[in-house]
């Protein structure tokens, strides 16, 4: 048998260094593989999130379209029919028609109010300031709450795109509804101003505010507000629970304008 003359020193040296390099390479490729996997996961999550946002946007837009259609139908069809009925009854001089006139007037007013709340009619024609003013007037005349409105943006508020203006209108409508339902406030202060080269809005009431235990952030109303603001790429900051009353700042971005 041939004698083995291999150098044990070299064999051990090669084995040690070789194994070390092999293991180091294994760890390196394992990390690379993990990084690729996590990148793919992130991309998938991002795509899912974007898809979710697109779905939400589409839902909100179709909701607005539907509201507009119902509002228009109520105003044009039901409202017009009621007005016709009122005219026909005015031509009849019997006593029963006089008894029913106030009732029909009341129905016409209700239909108009519903129609307006479903689709603010002045938004396209007169802009956001006028439409908001009209909305706030209905609250002020009801007597329960006093809404103070201030616009420091001049005509910029009316230059907002239809989507943005409608979203802001809906947000303020929702906030007012929340104030009336939960805050027991007497006054509401709404202010439009310019911050960071863009329009910002503050909404404040003197009600009981958000308490730590009463998490309004997760309520349907707040979710709705969040979704609408996200749709127009606006951000918002809520008051801390320690602050008196409810306070929210909405900041539109350059993209929302």
């Amino acid at each position: 048998m041939q004698k083995v003359t291999d150098n044990i020193f070299l064999l051990v040296l090669f084995a040690m260094v070789g194994t070390f390099i092999l293991v180091a390479a294994f760890i390196f490729f394992f990390l690379k593989y993990q990084r690729n996997i996590s990148r793919q996961k992130e991309a998938l999550q991002k795509a899912e999130l974007e898809h979710g946002e697109q779905l939400l946007n589409a839902t909100l837009l179709s909701q607005e379209e539907e509201r507009k259609r119902i509002g228009r139908d109520l105003h044009d069809d039901v409202g017009a029919s009621l007005s016709n009925l009122k005219m026909i009854m005015a031509q009849n001089t019997d006593i029963t028609s006089d008894k029913h006139k106030p009732l029909i007037d009341n129905i016409i007013t209700t239909v108009r109010n519903i129609s307006h709340s479903l689709s603010p009619p002045g938004l396209d024609l007169f802009g956001l300031e006028f439409t908001l003013q009209e909305l706030l007037d209905t609250f002020n005349t009801s007597g329960g709450i006093q809404v103070h409105f201030e616009n420091e943006t001049g005509k910029k508020i009316d230059a907002l795109g239809e989507k943005t203006a409608l979203a802001l209108y809906r947000v303020i409508q929702e906030l007012l509804s929340n104030t009336i339902k939960h805050a027991h406030a007497k006054n509401v202060f709404i202010k439009f101003f310019i911050a960071n080269n863009s329009i910002a809005v503050t909404y404040q009431d003197d009600g009981k505010g958000l308490s730590a235990g009463n998490d309004k952030k997760t309520g349907m109303g707040m979710q709705n507000i969040e979704a609408r603001l996200k749709m127009i790429q606006a951000s918002f900051t809520l008051c801390t629970p320690e602050t008196k009353g409810f306070f929210i700042t909405i900041q539109l971005s350059q993209k929302s304008n």
Partner: protein
């Protein structure tokens, strides 16, 4: 750098780096990190004792390696039991440390004298740790981690152990053969081993730094 300084000063004293970081963050260390910290303490004490016995007293210090192997094996079993989240009553993790200590005793009594290198048990321990480390990587590859793997302390502990035991495995296997090599060759192999040890300590230090509440 002088290789003597590297092997007898820098590497032995470098253990103070992970021990120091671990001590600084002791309250923040999870259970598996604490086990590694205990291991480093035991390792530091035994290594310094071995160095003192060998260099100052000129007495064969190899009995200490038999003791060290048994303690190290048990501590790594415990570490992987925690890291791999084995069930409390896991038969493998209950039997393995006991079996390993028994094997160390049997080896010292009947196979390899305590005055020779415990190459059998040390190699066995290396295989055990390599398998545990591979198991950890397999789990990492198949589980969903919300955190980046590179930020996990356990990953760095495992990498340190895996690199060290894989690199040093052949040395453990042939440790009693290389006694016959020339002093220069013998020295080179142990310098490389010291490099692997330093690498493991650096990974342990990084892992301790990454430990958060």
């Amino acid at each position: 750098m002088n290789s003597k300084f590297f092997m007898s000063v820098l590497v032995p004293w470098s253990i103070l780096l992970p021990v120091g970081i671990g001590l600084f963050k002791l309250n923040l260390l999870p259970k598996n990190a604490r086990i590694i910290w205990y291991y480093l303490l035991v390792s530091a004490v035994i290594n310094f004792a071995a160095s003192f016995i060998g260099r100052r007293l000129h007495v064969n210090n190899l009995p200490l390696i038999h003791l060290y192997t048994a303690i190290e094996g048990v501590l790594f079993c415990w570490f992987y039991k925690t890291t791999l989240q084995a069930p409390k009553n896991s038969l493998l993790f209950r039997l393995l440390p006991v079996l390993f200590v028994l094997l160390c005793i049997i080896n010292a009594l009947f196979f390899q004298s305590i005055y020779t290198y415990s190459s059998y048990t040390r190699s066995l321990e290396a295989i055990m740790c390599i398998l545990f480390a591979l198991n950890y990587f397999a789990r990492m590859a198949t589980t969903n981690n919300s955190k980046k793997i590179i930020l996990l302390p356990a990953f760095h502990f495992n990498t340190g152990i895996f690199l060290y035991f894989s690199g040093a495995f052949m040395l453990f296997v042939f440790s009693n053969f290389i006694f016959n090599l020339s002093d220069a060759d013998y020295y080179i192999i142990w310098v490389i081993h010291a490099g692997f040890v330093l690498c493991m300590y650096l990974f342990f230090s990084t892992a301790f730094l990454l430990c958060k509440k």
